[in-house]
Symmetry: C2
Subunit: 361 residues, 2 copies
């Protein structure tokens, strides 16, 4: 039996990719790149190359149980952990950790989001294996750090010691975590070479993260320890329904990583993107000669440049005279928006909720 486990966090309900992504079917369940596998399927496929399927667990909102079992038929019900409420990453990780450790106390974990893109899979898997070896043999928490390619203000930054270096594969002690900086600070971070982006991919032994919960989030530890005799039984669901909603709503970064002293970061050059914006998606789509990223072939473009066009299957589209727009057509909604205004999509979604109800978002 392998002691290596993967916990994929798949509870997010983002609205940035509306109307492609909706509450009923958020981004992780979409084939957003048009390559035949959804993001969560890609994430599963990737980890399954080094971790057996029976050791891969998904934590998600109750809403998405069916869609996960449909998209990942390799999983048994027991491997799909359902959150009865959204409580950020700390309770989500504790639930998965304590459940899996009730079966295998020697478990060693990689914890990852379900909706990120990894272009260099071999390098990624080598990095994860190296990380799992490191945490197997030491009581350290580890996070994967991405070498910044621009002064991005949308990510958290991790500072390493001056003496260390940020080359791929190097493991460093973390000096500080910084939440999303302003542009001035982001520029300083970027120039210094001492900062890495926080990828949200964590590696640690079960014992190590459990000790960290005991030190910094004792209530969460107490809550999920109580479940030990109930996990993998028919009583698990009732137990979780009872305790989960009263859990503290806190991220693992804020609750643990920023406080613990044994946090390390491994620099990783793995072609990582969180595909958090239409702009970043556009970079990863195949584009035509005019810079248009099209997700299927039934789209005819005339005098049109640098657009992202995503039209539902089975439909034809003609787009004339448009430059720099996002065009998304789904069964329930149509969005046409300038790329440079995409941060307003959240506002649009709220306006729709207010005016037209939840059915469209």
């Amino acid at each position: 039996m392998s002691n290596n486990y993967c916990v994929i966090m798949a509870g997010g309900i983002g609205s940035r990719f509306w109307p492609l992504s909706t509450t009923r079917k958020p981004k992780q369940f979409l084939d957003i790149l048009g390559i035949g596998r959804t993001l969560i399927q890609q994430t599963f496929d990737r980890f399954n190359k080094i971790i057996p399927a029976e050791n891969i667990y998904i934590v998600t909102n109750e809403l998405y149980k069916d869609i996960i079992l449909e998209q990942l038929p390799e999983l048994k019900d027991d491997q799909v952990l359902l959150e009865p409420a959204m409580r950020n990453t700390a309770p989500c990780i504790a639930y998965a950790t304590y459940k899996i450790m009730s079966k295998n106390p020697a478990a060693n974990f990689v914890v990852a989001p379900s909706d990120h893109l990894i272009l260099k899979e071999d390098a990624f898997l080598a990095t994860i294996k190296k990380g799992l070896d490191f945490t197997e043999n030491s009581n350290n928490l580890m996070t994967l750090g991405i070498k910044p390619s621009r002064p991005e203000t949308g990510y958290g930054y991790i500072q390493i010691n001056e003496a260390d270096n940020a080359e791929s594969g190097v493991i460093s002690k973390v000096k500080t975590f910084t939440e999303k900086p302003n542009l001035e600070l982001a520029n300083i971070f970027f120039e210094s070479g001492e900062f890495l982006w926080n990828s949200g991919i964590f590696i640690w032994k079960g014992d190590t993260i459990k000790e960290a919960f005991q030190s910094f989030e004792l209530e969460i530890d107490t809550t999920f320890s109580k479940g030990t005799p109930l996990y993998y039984t028919e009583k698990e669901a009732d137990f979780v329904s009872e305790v989960y909603p009263s859990c503290k709503n806190i991220s693992i970064d804020y609750g643990i990583m920023e406080k613990a002293k044994n946090v390390h970061v491994m620099a990783a050059d793995v072609g990582w993107s969180d595909i958090g914006t239409w702009g970043s998606l556009h970079e990863h789509l195949e584009r035509d000669g005019d810079g248009n990223g099209l997700t299927h072939a039934n789209t005819l473009m005339y005098d049109a440049q640098d657009n992202i066009v995503n039209v539902q299957e089975g439909k034809v589209a003609v787009i004339q005279g448009l430059e720099g727009y996002i065009v998304v057509d789904t069964e329930n909604a149509l969005l046409i928006c300038k790329k440079e205004e995409e941060q307003r999509i959240k506002q649009f979604v709220n306006d729709i909720k207010l005016g037209h109800g939840e059915d469209f978002v």
Copy 2:
């Protein structure tokens, strides 16, 4: 029994309103203004105020039999004349005329397209009644002439005698017909005050148009005279299937009106539009404060001006940062096109036919 009949021509298969209008469901069968009745229903309703339903006939392509009986349940099968092939207006009018006259030789007709807009209904109906009286009591062919509001190059023009005037309700002898002029000529016509637009709405007694066919299109007269014993019998359909495809493909304007000497025009100020372009539709849609014409309420506009937006029912749309565009969303297709480029829609439709087949057009 009333001798007044209305023949509505509904066989057109235009592509200018694609994708709203398709071969399966052209413009006349659409509620293009979003008012709850399709254009052909509006046309029927209008004439039905002065002509009994049993005297209203539709001539259309075989393709549209079901849709007509569905949209106009007042009609009996006998009142829906099916063309087995498209042969322009002269054979279409001859078929309806000779059929109806086989039952009522004293029939007096108004012949009209099914897809025009009439804003001043009372004035229109008064005009039609006046015209029917005029043709009932004289052997004249009559057409309705619209006072030009701009030097339009898309319409035919009718010149009246200098002595006559172009005020509404005045009946004049026609001096010449001119097919679509170039802009220079259109400007001269417009300035002169002696020209009216040819609306394609005709009024005449059956005997009078029959004589005209005998004089100018004898072959068509011979063909449809032969059908006299067969109309309103089970043999009618076979007869029409046999003779129709070999009919001359010619318009009533070119075949008869431009040649006959007894042609009159009645100037009509009736709020007429053939809604032949998105631009002309835009003029007739209700618009928001930014000049956007929206056909339903589930459309949210941000920084958007002077667009025409037509999104399918049950769908929400968000449009940001667009100015002067046509946006049409249907089950099968999406069109985004600058208003000033709308004449290219025919080309787009051809490109789709070539690349993606007939299903989308």
